[in-house]
Symmetry: C2
Subunit: 436 residues, 2 copies
Amino acid sequence: MELEPKSSTRSRKSCINFMFWPWKSLYIDGYVNVDGNPICECYSCYGGIDCSLFSSNCSANVESGDPLFLEPFWMQNADSSAVVVAGWHRMSYVFPNNQSFISKELEKSIRKIHAIAKNAITYGKYIIFGTGSTQLLHAAGHALYMDNNYSTKVVANKIPYYSLYKLQTEYFQTRHCEFGGDSSMLKNNSDFAGNVIEFVTSPNNPDGSLDSPVLNGPNVKHIYDHAYYWSHYTAIPAPADEDLMIFSMSKLTGHAGSRFGWAIVKDVNVYTRMMEFIDLAEMGTSKDVQLRALTLLKVVAQGGGKQLFNFAQQILTDRWKKVSHIFSLTKRFSLQTIPTQYCTFFERTREPSPEIGVALMATYAWVKCKRTEDKNCQEVFRVAKIIGRSSRAFYAGDCYVRFSLVMDQQDFDMLIHRLKELISQEYEASAQYMSI
Amino acid sequence: MELEPKSSTRSRKSCINFMFWPWKSLYIDGYVNVDGNPICECYSCYGGIDCSLFSSNCSANVESGDPLFLEPFWMQNADSSAVVVAGWHRMSYVFPNNQSFISKELEKSIRKIHAIAKNAITYGKYIIFGTGSTQLLHAAGHALYMDNNYSTKVVANKIPYYSLYKLQTEYFQTRHCEFGGDSSMLKNNSDFAGNVIEFVTSPNNPDGSLDSPVLNGPNVKHIYDHAYYWSHYTAIPAPADEDLMIFSMSKLTGHAGSRFGWAIVKDVNVYTRMMEFIDLAEMGTSKDVQLRALTLLKVVAQGGGKQLFNFAQQILTDRWKKVSHIFSLTKRFSLQTIPTQYCTFFERTREPSPEIGVALMATYAWVKCKRTEDKNCQEVFRVAKIIGRSSRAFYAGDCYVRFSLVMDQQDFDMLIHRLKELISQEYEASAQYMSI
């Protein structure tokens, strides 16, 4: 690895944090050196004892959906967002005043955030906590198929789809239940007489489309994965009002590492079964995580929620503009388009950007390699030092690749740098220069 | 409920905590009043706005295994055990220096604690984190039976047994896998040709016995539930050195509400499958919980671990003495006996107490109703205002009841009070008075 000194203060992740915050003991959960002192944690492409060495040869890593673009928001709100936990706090399995695994204050906060964000109706519905939306997707599926003594097919709404639904269904090997691909497989198979559970990811991961169910009928049940249904990532045409909806703190506040999510459930029987699942899987959700979630959501709710929502929207709008502009200059690759929608949260239409004619933002860039010879799109970009997630991971062949737009600024800047390098090759080939 | 004023400061749980600790915001995760201020959380049998009203008519609730007897230890170690978490801390799914879900520092701390406690050999073995031992018991079972395409029986070591093994196996309905009762069912059934997984709970919940596997052979695999294998609860004759052992923070430090446990695993394939389980179930274990666990385990390790281990042992020795003494005065009920063992941690024999001839401590009192007419032992005690867990919950009929000895002091004192009342009835019946 080629390392060269660079004086960017942004390279020093932990070291900056030490400057912000006097308690070094905060960082004891990372690596420590032989003297017991924490070792600096560097942004991608930086190394050395104080992370000051920049590797100009390094790849842009935009493979994961880690929502670190929100980290600066929490640095700006340091006082209100810090949590102090006494050693004896919440040692019991239950909250003493209601003998429940669930903090009622946190439940109230979640209902309030949805009312502010205008993205889901919680009135008359139950709320269940889980260890990330990951656990709740599993719990919801199990609650819906556990009473079936005959065949149940679990399907994803459409291709491309998030892999977890398939991986969980196959890994946990529940009796009488199997994964059936995407909804079209069953829509075209009128012979199937069993029960169907359709996962509807809306906005969709990876391409951001706001999807509706494909299958309907008395034997079909739906689970709405609404992890990205926040005004950060999409227009909110109307509050969602489905029977079983799942959200995560990860994509709302950026705290993926905390592992906290919630389900909003209309039917009392489904609610009861999902609670049983959470109880038997791990006797409720950590009180430490609930306390942190409550603290963070209270900050989000301050001032009618505008502060976080505006912050997130501004960053992702800016990033989408930059990425869209670059892809408008190439014939080799194309970017998904997202139709214009009225957003009830910002109370305005997400107007198409005049330069490029697409919607203003997305969580991921979903990029197609258009040349016949570029059979493996992920590999084309890997050679160009951009690490994305192959469309194969979304069961959509090899012609696409997903790039995260929610990583930290360092990774995004490197993505833009490498994209410019790659796309400028088209112009160099025809002896032209691009101004990007 | 009969409420009368009582001036005990110990009744005011949260209110005491406020006095100890200046940050009221610590307690926002409980109920709040209309002004947004936290409502006092009272010990059992206390009520009123400041928890000063004592209900002399209330029952002793010793049903759950909530290990609140360790709460005072953490109050005594307030400075070193508090955790401060900045709003932007550990937002990522992974620790940046190793791209893993696991804090390597916490893993090191766990190995250190076992070396100090002399209760398990971790050298040459892998460590996996989970959301409580509850999740790891499920993950371990799944890792051992997932590759079997033919029948697998899951069994518990012996009756009485902890219900979770049965409940999880039945609830999650994994293909080709079923619960087969206790080991004796298979030992007597030589026709069964499939694979067997035997859960060995040692010390056993509820009766505290140090058990060994009942089944052996090429088709039998064992999962050791060592949640109670700490010198708090039992003599430690030798460090455990099994292939698959599960421990929990709940029973080591008392932090049941945090939901943190770990497995110690010898075989790399079992380790890999359990890690897959944790990843697919919830994408790793909360970083907030890992940070708290690390902070608490560092306090435990201070001074060679003597402080916590001595504290816990002294309380439970004292409680066992009191309970044993009371049961030595009755012919209607009997208490389990625990054989004397050499303890490598305290480097002395747990000598039998001269008065009563039983070992010095246990987590639970496992009480038998000896009279023929006392058919439902739990009910006999319920009428006497003592709420225990029926032996039916341990698949051992109705003749026993389990009382927790690890609850907070308030509940333990009420247990002793109610036991004295009940047992004194035997003496009153024969016009005698007991001195207990």
